[in-house]
């Protein structure tokens, strides 16, 4: 096959693959994961915080690499929710202090104080060591995580960019 034909084949392949990927979702415009996902995804409205409890929002941003690396978020050592990039969850808890970490990965855990009627926003981020580019190789699955608490206003805005699942956190 001539270089020109090979070139055309590769280009056609790319167009075909991308078209194929986008068709099931109804097109690129509907494939927007951010900005009011609850409306776009038809998720149930969040219920108000239960009396005498506080609410913990935990989410994970999107990153280029390491999307395949995930595990359960633990609250006081108890696994609650398997957190993939671009998703989050929330749960209501009695006022108190909680330690948030990621199961089976080296993690800098975060200690969060929760008051009644208060919401806390926690971001879980991959802390990659080594190459972060396809030409540098894939990240090995044993990467560490960092857990950070965001300020309320920004945290609320940020958490609601992702589809959120309601969970039950036990103590």
């Amino acid at each position: 096959m001539t270089r020109g034909r090979r070139w055309f084949f590769l280009f056609s392949l790319n167009v075909f693959v991308f078209t194929g990927m986008l068709l099931p979702t109804g097109g690129l415009t509907s494939a927007v994961a951010q900005e009011s996902p609850s409306k776009k995804l038809g998720a149930p409205q969040e219920s108000p915080i239960a009396n005498g409890t506080g609410r913990l929002y935990i989410f994970r941003p999107i990153r280029s690499f390491g999307a395949h690396i995930d595990d359960y978020i633990t609250v006081d050592g108890i696994p609650v929710h398997r957190l993939a990039p671009g998703t989050g969850f929330y749960c209501d808890l009695a006022p108190g202090e909680y330690v948030i970490s990621v199961a089976r990965h080296k993690t800098s855990p975060l200690r969060v104080s929760l008051a009644a009627g208060q919401a806390s926003y926690v971001c879980v981020m991959l802390h990659p060591q080594g190459g972060v580019s396809p030409r540098g190789g894939a990240l090995t699955s044993d990467q560490s995580f960092v857990v950070r608490k965001f300020e309320p206003e920004f945290g609320a805005q940020r958490a609601h960019q992702y589809p959120l699942t309601r969970e039950t956190c036990k103590r």
């Binding site: 096959m1 070139w7 084949f9 590769l10 280009f11 392949l13 790319n14 693959v17 194929g20 990927m21 099931p24 979702t25 690129l28 494939a31 927007v32 994961a33 951010q34 900005e35 995804l41 941003p61 999107i62 280029s64 999307a67 395949h68 690396i69 995930d70 398997r82 993939a84 990039p85 671009g86 998703t87 800098s108 855990p109 971001c123 990659p128 060591q129 080594g130 190459g131 972060v132 580019s133 396809p134 030409r135 540098g136 190789g137 894939a138 090995t140 699955s141 044993d142 560490s144 960092v146 950070r148 608490k149 965001f150 300020e151 206003e153 920004f154 805005q157 940020r158 960019q161 589809p163």
Partner: protein
């Protein structure tokens, strides 16, 4: 043609897999973290048992829209990786086996139309399919020590600043291009060498890595590597040693300061190198690099990851008689979450200056300005419109500047 066909079949298989699992996974398809999802729970089960599968493909669709030689060149780089966690599989604490398969296709716009040295598309590599990295990794002393041994690419451990991944140009992504183009053995995928790398991280903010790489010429050149399975060990004169000191600032959970990452590294290669101006060879090559990125403005208060991070990189390989690009100075800035409500997107601007060796007749320096915006349409699809302007390609005053526009697509499997 064969590599392209194989890559096609792989992509179609993954596409079909994703459709099959459409009904099995939770949530709409576009909210999954990868395009192929969780394989109906099988992927997570495998991971829990110790086998983690990952993949990505990047497609660069770039065109030179200026000058008499206008051209368009697509390029594709795909990567499939399998991790076997032997701690889970065989109860061997801290031991992991990592294997990669790589497929590349397409054309190099820089050679096809522009004639420049700071290659514009990171997705382009010698077309073909390859066995990529294949190494064993052992972590010791509560992960303070990491030992890796096997077939490895240098960019996996050295000189790849996180901010570099936000650019389309191969001048900067994954490592300063002059480290690769001058030495050959300072590799990025699909080129790999036999290697051993040790990393000591006594604290969360400091790490020191040392690597020894074989300098087997066929193994280091993708087209000569027999699809990455040329396992011959004979070096071309002597091994290459690389060392890097890494300093990370404010990266912990309790740190409230602005985060930064800094690399200081150097290498020595004992291999023989061809002279640029004579027919002889010269044994040995060495160089240094200094790279740093530091967030200077943050929106959203303490701990937020939204804000402006400038970076700088200097890579210097002094021997002008054998190094075509002895000096590469690059600087830029990445704004993470510039548009409100789009906190995962990246805006990036960069300027690259490559000084041409004095041994190259009529060569001075090549400069590139790059502008990118990476829009994460879904967690598994990043689309990056890209603009590059190449000034004095190859450093020749007679060469015409080139404007390159296009886009990069990143898909995570």
């Amino acid at each position: 043609m064969k590599p392209a066909r194989i890559a096609t079949l792989c992509l179609l298989a993954l596409l079909m897999m994703s459709r099959v699992t459409l009904a099995q996974a939770q949530g709409p398809w576009w909210t999954w973290s990868t395009i192929s999802g969780n394989w109906g729970g099988y992927r997570q089960s495998l991971a829990d048992d110790g086998v983690v599968v990952s993949g990505s493909t990047i497609v660069d669709l770039l065109g030179n829209v200026s000058g008499p030689v206008r051209a368009f060149a697509p390029a594709n780089a795909s990567l499939l990786a399998i991790d076997a966690d032997l701690e889970k599989l065989l109860d061997l604490k801290g031991l992991l086996v990592h294997t990669e398969f790589v497929a590349n296709g397409g054309q190099n716009l820089s050679t096809k139309s522009i004639g420049n040295l700071l290659q514009v598309a990171t997705a382009f590599a010698q077309p073909g399919y390859y066995l990529g990295q294949m190494f064993v990794q052992q972590k010791l002393l509560s992960d303070k020590v990491t030992l890796q041994m096997g077939r490895m690419t240098t960019a996996n451990n050295f000189a790849s600043l996180p901010a570099f991944a936000d650019y389309v140009s191969f001048a900067v992504n994954p490592i300063p291009i002059n480290l690769t183009s001058n030495t050959i053995y300072f590799t990025s995928l699909p080129a790999v060498q036999w290697a051993a790398v040790g990393t000591i991280a006594p604290t969360d903010w400091l790490a020191f890595a040392v690597g020894v790489y074989d300098t087997n010429l066929p193994s280091g050149l993708p087209f000569a590597s027999r699809h990455g399975v040329d396992f011959s060990f004979q070096g071309s004169g002597g091994p290459m040693e690389v060392a890097q000191l890494t300093y990370t600032l404010n990266r912990g959970s309790d740190d409230i300061g602005l985060p930064g990452t800094y690399y200081l590294g150097g290498f020595y290669s004992g291999a023989a190198y061809s002279s640029l101006s004579h027919d002889d060879t010269r044994k040995g090559n060495y160089g240094f690099y200094l790279e740093g990125q530091q967030m200077i403005y943050r929106r959203g208060g303490l701990s937020s990851d939204v804000g402006l991070t400038p970076w700088i990189s200097i890579a210097y390989t002094p021997q002008q008689s054998i190094n075509q690009l002895p000096l590469l100075v690059m600087a830029g800035a990445v704004y993470h979450g510039l548009i409100p409500g789009r906190s995962d997107d990246n805006s990036a601007v960069g300027f690259y200056y490559g000084k041409i060796s004095t041994s190259v007749p009529s060569g001075s320096g090549e400069k590139v300005v790059e502008l990118d915006y990476t829009w994460w349409a879904t967690p598994w699809l990043g689309i990056t419109p890209d603009l590059q302007y190449v000034l004095t390609p190859s450093g020749r005053s007679s060469s015409r500047n080139a404007a390159v526009i296009g886009a990069q697509f990143q898909i995570l499997f």
